[in-house]
Symmetry: D2
Subunit: 283 residues, 4 copies
């Protein structure tokens, strides 16, 4: 059985009893409904504009390798990693969500690991947290392993004393709590302009889409996919000294990804439009 | 490609470099990790024990029909519906979650519609809300269209004046807010014991499992499945007069399911173990 | 200037311009409004019915003494303390809040220290956390130092496997997070009935009401007051082995109150009506 | 009895038993503790930097008058009002809170009414909501009637499509939910630069400090105070067309303050340092 897609015609006006039989409930995601407009997640593309506080760091390469599916290798810089805090606005292609500020904002923390597929540099996201349910579910559609957390970061202040300026000396702290525990903390103290964006924020993400088994004997559906984006835009990029700590880890596997060394920090704004995935090894 | 399942051996101790290559990251759900224990959702079965405040009601049968996939019909009582508030504890088979009360409790509101598959009575859940992310994601694995909301209900008091007794005259209010709006409110004023459980809480739920399209040209995976449960247990069931309102609807489709008549209310405790789904029409 | 109290007549119907001048905005608390009914906190008495998971423990008596105002002494059992988790329903005298389950429930964690005033046994609450704003502000009116936190505890299950029975072997975990950190965790494993309620739950609380200085040169108003309650009711009281930890302390002063020994645990329901304070040493 | 103030010496090192007797627990607010550093609210001054979305509007002057204490009059523009959404960072004088981004950010919605004291223009805040507990309690110290709500507003985007630019045509929506209800919604569509800041954001706020009665026969302490600020800073101020709605009012008194006319909207950044109050009519 194949569900009617979101592009099924919904604007004809059959008689009521016809409707019930000819236009089954549909939607890009659950909940399915007669018009398709109850779906929790709108169909792509999705536009994102956000502010990023990010720290490059290094993990034990053996530990990083244990988070890679067999198709991927560590590549030329084994153990390269990044901790990325971001505060986003998002909208669908018609921009409708921007009229509901309770819906179109979220904050995110993710860990990235450098990796490679047949010589192509990619980033693997073993863990991610967001503070709103729609981005969580939208992440799972893509294979991005988003969990729920409270993500906070300092914003540059335009005026007054309650915030740093985006300028040398400005200090930008960020923190993640999940499950009522303080999982991660970072700080970037800006020193000057960077020559370009941090490497792990420029390569495509590679995710494992997973539809878990639910029926008896069922095998889970898994697919290794990259995310296809357009309209990538960076503001000026500031860089400086970074700090990164994981004070209260919820899980022994995550403990393998704590820093063995902390590198540079970055503060910048970023935008992209996310269109769809692309299978790494089409069947 | 098929992911290793959660039952892959994880307790052998190969050399580190072997590990990285021979035991890919796995888990019942995302996040995948070396041990499989980072998965947000544990594999079934899951045990649930909860307290329910529920109202039978009737909707326009034409509207109800528009929420049914073509395989289902309205059955002998078209328009029969229920609004169910529940406050749950849950745990996996080893009970581990009960040691973390921040993790094992959630509250839920769902709407049920009476329906039938080839003469077999079932309940369809067009909308559901929960207040925690794990039950939300776990619902989507089953095809249950859970969204995020704040769900509150009155508890019976054992002592004192700040709560009703579970006895004639006791009034149990419940409310759902979602997206910062008050979506639903119900109240049951207990009159006496019921002869048996409310019908729509006794029939299997039938869900549409949906794995949305993400790759270019991909068709979404959809499957019509029922939920298989065991160890169903009801406490004494109290019944009485019910009220039900939907004060501030977020969505025009949901508006089709407001009450045309409100029936009896019920207050009871309930438990079940949820094992897996079963396809309604196996391919 | 003295504000009209909440008992000012509000039901006469003067002409509008008279009203504006003759019935100033009033209320038991802020916000003041024409009818007095916008007040965030209703005037006492307040009724409470709740479920308690509690552990007796001992702290360093020197540390406990540093939390007592000069009028109080440690009494005959220096260092006796308790950690109390409770899940409450509350209502004003007319019970109106019980119709709004989003308003009348909250959870609380508090620390109690044994103390004495001129030979009269009392309990001092140096720290308390609640998960709703109304109980927080109401606490400050009384002098109870409530802060904001996430408080969770296991409930006994009537049916099914997802919860302990209130019977020997039943284990009741509870946890407090505040500021995104896991501050406290406790567990009580029930062994049998207790002969009576735990001592620190039977003596009056003694608080320091504090109205902080805000005007230049102003001295804060402080008063040492006990809380006057009536209609105290205990359910059957179960007791057993207790565990208590403070994994991630937010503050060095609180660190002085960690357990040097953990005593018995208790699980019970409790109700009271809270009427007003009484000054310990009237001016 | 007068509590030791926060400036009491805390860094001497008496013997433990002396300490317990000579340095009673203290703090600017509750909780009192040996060092004074457990206090929920730090002593002023407090610095604020924020982003404001604001709409001028008009209410029924009779209704406005009913919210003014007898010392105040409506002044030359009866019924002038404003709805102010703001997203803040704050810190104490040492800036310590900026290292904890989970603590130093909050969002606020408040209503302002034009008024006058003996010819001096002031603004009265009958209702305010914030989304964090520290600003709530800090508001009550000043007499600002802050309640708890979810406050959201659109941010200007630097890059990408998911947000307006701070330029003609940019539309900034904002919303307040409280008690699970959508209480207020506003939008400002920017048309150009304003000549100066909106009037009601330039005059001092006048609050009624209120310490509610708790002891038998006690009169509440109330004082009419203005807030003394310094280091006021405005960014460039953008103005445009405004919308303002109150869709789901929690309270009949608040209903008196709905718009009879909506005026201009404003978008700007703002900073101030808040030092203390000043009594309007010293005793």
């Amino acid at each position: 059985m194949t569900a009617p897609t979101d592009t099924a015609p919904t604007d004809t006006a059959p008689t009521p009893s016809d409707t019930a039989r000819t236009a089954p409930p549909h939607g890009y995601t659950l909940p399915l409904s007669p018009s398709g407009r109850s779906a929790m997640v709108t169909p792509p593309p999705w536009h994102f504009s956000g502010d990023v506080v990010m720290a490059d760091y290094r993990v034990d390469p053996e530990a990083a390798a244990r988070f890679l599916p067999p198709e991927l290798t560590l590549g030329p810089d084994p153990g390269a990693a990044a901790a990325v805090f971001a505060e986003w606005q998002w909208c669908s292609d018609d921009g409708a969500e921007l009229a509901d500020p309770a819906r179109c904002r979220f904050a995110e923390f993710l860990i990235l690991l450098a990796c490679e597929y047949r010589g192509r540099p990619l980033a693997r996201c073993p863990y991610a947290w967001v503070d709103e349910p729609v981005p969580l579910v939208r992440g799972w559609i893509q294979g991005m392993p988003k969990q729920f957390g409270q993500v906070h970061q300092i914003r540059p202040a335009q005026v007054g004393k309650a915030g740093p300026r985006l300028a040398p000396g400005g200090r930008f702290d960020a923190a993640l709590s999940a499950g009522g525990r303080r999982v991660a903390e970072a700080a970037v103290t800006v020193e000057g302009r960077a020559d370009g964006p941090p490497f792990l924020h420029t390569v495509p993400l590679v995710h494992t889409r997973l539809f878990p088994a639910w029926l008896p004997g069922e095998e889970p559906v898994t697919r290794l996919v990259t995310s296809e984006v357009s309209d990538v835009e960076f503001s000026e990029i500031w860089t400086g000294r970074a700090e990164l700590r994981f004070p209260d880890l919820p899980d022994a596997d995550l403990a393998g990804l704590v820093p063995v060394e902390v590198g540079r920090g970055y503060v910048f704004s970023y935008a992209e439009t996310l269109h769809h995935g692309r299978e790494l090894e089409p069947a």
